[in-house]
């Protein structure tokens, strides 16, 4: 009897200690819902989707489109931005976009690490694509926010308050990443092509290389104030998209065009009168003027953005191009051609207007739900007289501005600030009645203002957004 008791006690004790050994507990605490590691090809897909939908197509594009007067904000936050209430300087305004951009940078960092020092060494295609996407995301971030955390960013739990890097240094890295990306995409790899996980180019490295060259053209032009290299722009353009099929865009069913979804969910953006006027000035030959905007009782009712027009939903005309099926452009073919046209014009090259005409045609025929024919483009192009000098430059820039309608707001906003810095502010005049409150940049995100002392100091009360230009626009930060 006694022996039995002792045996039972011993067995129970043994069971109990085994029941809570570290290995057993690890087993119990295993995450069975979410994988702890992941192949880079499955990670990079959403970076592309997110970069298109959230980084490029959503909040930043809406606000930038309002500031660049591509559209007008008629409701709530967009209206507040339109009439320059406190929103442009509040840290909460761009917080979602700010946080989202850094999530992409961190994720890309993880992919690049995997493919360079991690367990996917030699996965050159994924590495090259990740480097190009990193450069792209980095430029959107620094173009909008100026000096931002970069070298210390994306290390949660390790670096709690990332320091801020200068825009100039960040741009050096952007170029470096793009060139590295091109080099890696040219290497042979034993890894399978990204294939369908690459929702932009379907795993076609050649197209990614073209895209990288297109971006090099865009960023070279961006830095014109600091270091003009218009021939460089032309060279990069020549190495980039040869046809509209090469352009860098996302068109996947299941990913709605954010501009259309924003209208469905918020109805906060409408036609800006100044933009409508710009189009009307093209004359009746421009078929787009008639087709771009919805009508109310037969007429276009724009929001008069030259004054503090009335806030309201469903009151004003909206874009008639709008469709959730429209692609989201990261870098369009028409933009590329306009870059070349501008570079040629600035160099005084004769072919500038021809290039512009090609760009206008590309803009007319861009692959959206509402399309225009090549014949309509030709009709309009034929109505444009031969132009030279500033008039040609102006036409190029105005046409580029129009080509960005409706959802390439970020590039429009970048162009306007670049032109102002170059002394070409007259090319796309702004009509907002509060020019002193034209935001020179976006204000830092609230999450950093609240808990990163480096950003908190730079943010102050947020009013710097009206006075401090970014470095490439002549500013210091």
């Amino acid at each position: 009897m006694k022996n039995i008791k002792i045996t039972i006690t011993a067995i129970m004790a043994l069971f109990l200690f085994q029941a809570c050994s570290e290995d057993k507990m690890d087993d119990i605490n295993k995450n069975v819902n979410n994988p702890s590691d992941m192949e880079s090809r499955l990670i990079i897909t959403d970076v592309m989707v997110n970069t298109a939908f959230s980084v490029t197509g959503a909040d930043a594009s809406f606000y930038a489109g309002v500031y660049s007067e591509l559209s007008a904000g008629n409701h709530n936050q967009m209206y507040n931005a339109q009439v320059r209430r406190a929103d442009p300087q509040l840290s909460s305004t761009y917080n979602n976009g700010w946080n989202n951009s850094y999530e992409q940078l961190r994720t890309l960092g993880i992919i690049i690490d995997k493919c360079t020092v991690g367990n996917e060494q030699g996965n050159y295609q994924t590495l090259g694509v990740a480097q190009i996407l990193l450069a792209y995301n980095l430029s959107v971030l620094t173009d909008l926010f100026g000096d931002v955390p970069y070298t210390e960013a994306g290390k949660p739990g390790i670096i709690f308050q990332p320091k801020v890097d200068k825009q100039e240094a960040i741009y050096l890295d952007i170029f470096k990443r793009l060139n590295e990306g091109i080099a890696n995409l040219q290497k042979t790899t034993t890894y399978a092509s990204l294939g369908s996980q690459d929702v932009i180019y379907g795993g076609n490295s050649a197209k990614w290389i073209k895209a990288a060259n297109g971006l090099l053209a865009r960023y070279t032009m961006r830095l014109s104030l600091r270091k003009a290299d218009y021939q460089g722009v032309i060279n990069y353009v020549n190495a980039s998209f040869a046809t509209v099929d090469d352009e860098m865009k996302l068109a996947v069913s299941g990913v709605p065009n954010p501009f259309a979804r924003f209208e469905l969910n918020r109805s906060a953006i409408s036609v800006a009168k100044s933009f409508y006027d710009t189009m009307k000035a093209n004359g009746p030959a421009d078929a787009r003027t008639e087709a771009f905007f919805t009508k109310k009782a037969g007429v276009v009712v724009p929001f008069d953005n030259s004054k503090e027009d009335i806030e309201g939903q469903g009151v004003y005309s909206i874009s008639a191009l709008m469709s959730e099926a429209n692609p989201i452009y990261l870098m369009s073919y028409h933009e590329l051609l306009f870059l070349k046209a501008e570079a040629q014009a600035r160099l005084g090259l004769a072919e500038a207007q021809t290039t512009m005409n090609a760009a206008i045609k590309a803009a007319y025929t861009k692959k959206q739900v509402v399309t225009f024919t090549a014949a309509q483009a030709d009709t309009y192009i034929a109505s444009i007289p031969a132009l030279t000098g500033n008039a040609l430059l102006k036409k190029i820039m105005v046409e580029k501005h129009i080509s960005f309608y409706e959802n390439e707001g970020i590039e429009s906003y970048n162009d306007i600030r670049r032109l102002q810095a170059l002394g070409n502010g007259d090319l796309i005049p702004l009509v907002n009645p509060k020019p002193a409150l034209f935001p020179q940049r976006f204000s830092y995100g609230q999450s950093d203002v609240a808990s990163n002392a480096n950003i908190k100091d730079l943010y102050g009360d947020g009013s710097y957004v009206y006075t401090e230009k970014v470095w490439w626009a002549g500013g210091t930060r």
Partner: protein
Amino acid sequence: MKLKFNGFLVLLLVLVAQLTFAQERAVSGTVSDNTGMPLPGVSVLVKGTKTATQTDFDGKYSIKAAPNQVLIFSYIGMKAQEISASSTSVNPKLKNDSVELESVVVTALGVKKSSRALGYATQEVKAADITRANNNSLSGALQGKLAGVAITPSSGAPGASSQIIIRGARSFTGNNTPLYVIDGMPVASQPDFSTGNGVTGADVANRAVDIDPNEIESINVLKGQAASALYGLRASNGVILITTKSGKNLAQGGKPVITFNTSTSFETISKKPETQNEYAQGSNGVFNPNASTNWGPKISELPNNPTYGGNVANALNGGVLRPGKYYVPQRAKAGLDPWVAPQAYDNIGDFFKTGFTINNTLNISQATEKTNYSFGVGTSKQDGIIPETGMKRYTAKAVVDTKLNNEWKTGFSFNYVETKIDKSSSANDGAIVGVFGGPRSYDLKGIPFANPSNPYDQIYYRPGVFNNPYWAAKNNEFSEKTNRVYGNAYIQYSPIISEDGSQKLTVKYQAGVDSWTTNYRDIFEFGSKLDLSGNSSSANLYGTTNDVINSLFTLNYNLNITDDFNMNVLVGNEYNHQNTKEYDDTGTAFNFGGFPTITNARIVTASEYRRQIRTVGFFANAEFSYKNMIFLGGTIRKDVASNMPRGNRDFVYPSASLGIVLTELEGLKGSSILSYAKLRGSIAEVGQSGNFIGNSYTTPSYSGGFWVGDPIQYPLNGTSSFIPNNVQYDENLKPQNTKSYEIGADFKFFNNRIGLEYTFSKQNSKDQIFSVPLPGSTGANSLVTNGGKMRNDVHELTLSVNPVRTADFNWTFNVNFSKIDSYVEELANGVDNIFLGGFTTPQLRASVGDRFPVIYGTGYARDENNNIIVNAAGLPVADGELKVLGEVAPKFTLGGSTQLTYKRLSLGAVVDWKNGGKMYSGSNNLMNFYGVDARTADRTSEFIYPGVKEDGTPNDIVRGGAADPNGQQALQAALNGIAESAVFDASFVKLREVTLGYQFPKLMNNSLDVRASVFARNILLWSKMPNLDPEATQGNNNFAGGFEQWSMPQTKSIGFGLNFTF
């Protein structure tokens, strides 16, 4: 010889008989208490016989007894006395039952101890006090009856969640509710799902809803950490120990006792908003039949409206005048005569119906020599005051204990529960927006809620976003159904190890299980939000299956070292393993109406979540007592928790307590003024583990921000993606730690007629585990790590008085006072606040330097003298910065209860007073903004908003009046942008319970006891906040109690009950 012998025998018999009978004579006297007051109804028994009587109204008795016999005098509440009947006059004085003092309380791990032996505060609530007012919610039944315990109901809706927090919060976003232990088995009491930010959907009940208060014998609340330390990791929030009814307390060898309780009550809204009744739907004085606002013309002026009026020719009447009437387009859509005479409708009174609740419980129990048992079944059926809401609960239980022999004992306790709750939605999905906020001129009940030819085509005064409340009640569904089993079985071995009883050993092993499945359905039917595209309809089907296994082994050794010196040692082990599986299936955009399930959805997503958590604990407890006067105890427990990172899984927590009964000291002993005095103090340290799971990759989500719903749902055309989780886990996570100190004193005066207990406790909690927000530039949203400090200072005072105690009349009253101050001393580095729930503004948050939690949001712009600044239009404006608008926690709470018994009649009452604390009332804000509230009735007077102009001079800008007919609307629109304007003092006084009971004389041949009662709950309410009961708020988590927006209303009830005992 034979004769002789017979004769002798007869003689002897006669002699014996004479001896016996001749000496039996009447003994009489008066029984009184020790003050000399005669005691009627005292039972007098001749020991060892069945001869018995009772004292009369003057305390007199007479009984036949022989001089060598013994009389037993017994009376409830008094110590029984045995007195020899040697004299014919016996006049005993009965003393108060000091057993009351020695009352046994159940402490941690079910160990029973004399209350005097405790070095910490516990508080017991008996069955009678829980069930007297027939509340079918346990937490509701405890309100006002405990000190140091905050009970926050979410609403009066059937099955509504409710939070019990003992001695304040210790965790910012984690669990602050106590551990529930039923018959020795820890059971789940928390909600399966959090209501999150608390601004969408319906409430989610917490699992304490499964407990039927009628099955409870007693509740003992272990408030401090020292009291609960033996429970280890789960003990930091205190413990609610529930003992259910069993046959234990019945007379041994008696017959089965059958009890049947039934009660019926009727519920109505506890506070009905007051409305203006003069003005119609519209804005700026103009009628608009589709406006959400009520700033139109006078209702009586509607027939003169140029578009809709019947007094004037217009397109709608085609020139045929309809004098005194106006055109209601919604009536036209419903196929009714659109022309009606305008009036103000009682939309609120029409909508809320009288709810009713029927509770029935049947119990049979018996105690035989070896076995006692109790079997019970119960039902509770409740219909809410909102149509289509309600709760049904069915419970069955069995408790059996049996002695196998002198050393072995075994038993089990088994419970089955089925709970089904039908709810309604609130806040952004609010069903009652249109009831409280409905235009005064709109006939919400009279106009059908749907197109007669299409039941999903709503008819409503608003064109979108919110549903017609009648349509929502009929078509939307928010339901939850739980099936649950919990119980345990034990075997106990108590060998006799010493002949003289100086040593005792008890070994007990108990194994239990708590297993439940809850399925939830949240349905927005086709046509929801007046969207006939179906895009706003959805079915969210989710649920959880859980099983928790608990194994408990204890060994208890007691040794009387000397007569004065006793030692008790307990060692043991506990093993607790929880298995959880959850599912979440969402279908959005139904194709057609009438088939609201996932099959009918155009987009379907599904997910699964599984989790296991195991805790293994080893514990020991040692107690020493000296002369029944000094009690010293200490515990130590080591826990190993699976849900912490490797290398950081085991923790050791100690506690110590000391109690000194001063009245055992010579000199103080036996005093009738100070009957009892004890000083006590304790110190303890306990932890709370986090829920570490490690870093992982997740499916991307795009919901939030500007988007309604999730605009992108993976997989995309067969392509999946995984991204790093933006919530990171600290690999060095350690448990959060609470150190507590407690001192207290218990006094009883005047032979225990007055009892006073006071406790002060201080808790310092540090290393709180929460998702510390990270700067976005780190690429992650938050890091689950340790950070922050909290401090709780708690004063508890309990006073119990028994001013009158005679045989016919007994009066007692109790007062429970609590002052609980929880301060947030520190959050993680660089973080000065944490969001708990609500909107961007207003919201509730934990904020450094403030009490926990605070209301935060837009305040009035004020000058340095705190004057409200008005703008050029003479109206207040919002301050640019968001700020703290008020503390949610009250300054103090006071609960009082009283019980009067006169003969067979008893009257009881419970009053609850909450003093201070603020809450945000979104309903009050919007009822003003909409122009429905009675406070917006005056639209013609001129007013100057009290404040200063931007230049600092007093505001002299006149608004309103004939020159500014829309001034009042402009003011309310301005206030709507200032959250502070809807922050109210949440103080209230409530008459929680009133009960009147009558105990019938024994019926049916003395075999039936019947008690009848009538009761009322929450019938009187005084509150500072207008229109609404401050006890109706949003949320089932730490957000609860301070934020209201179209929340389900509170109820008051009145009913009757019958209690039969066979």
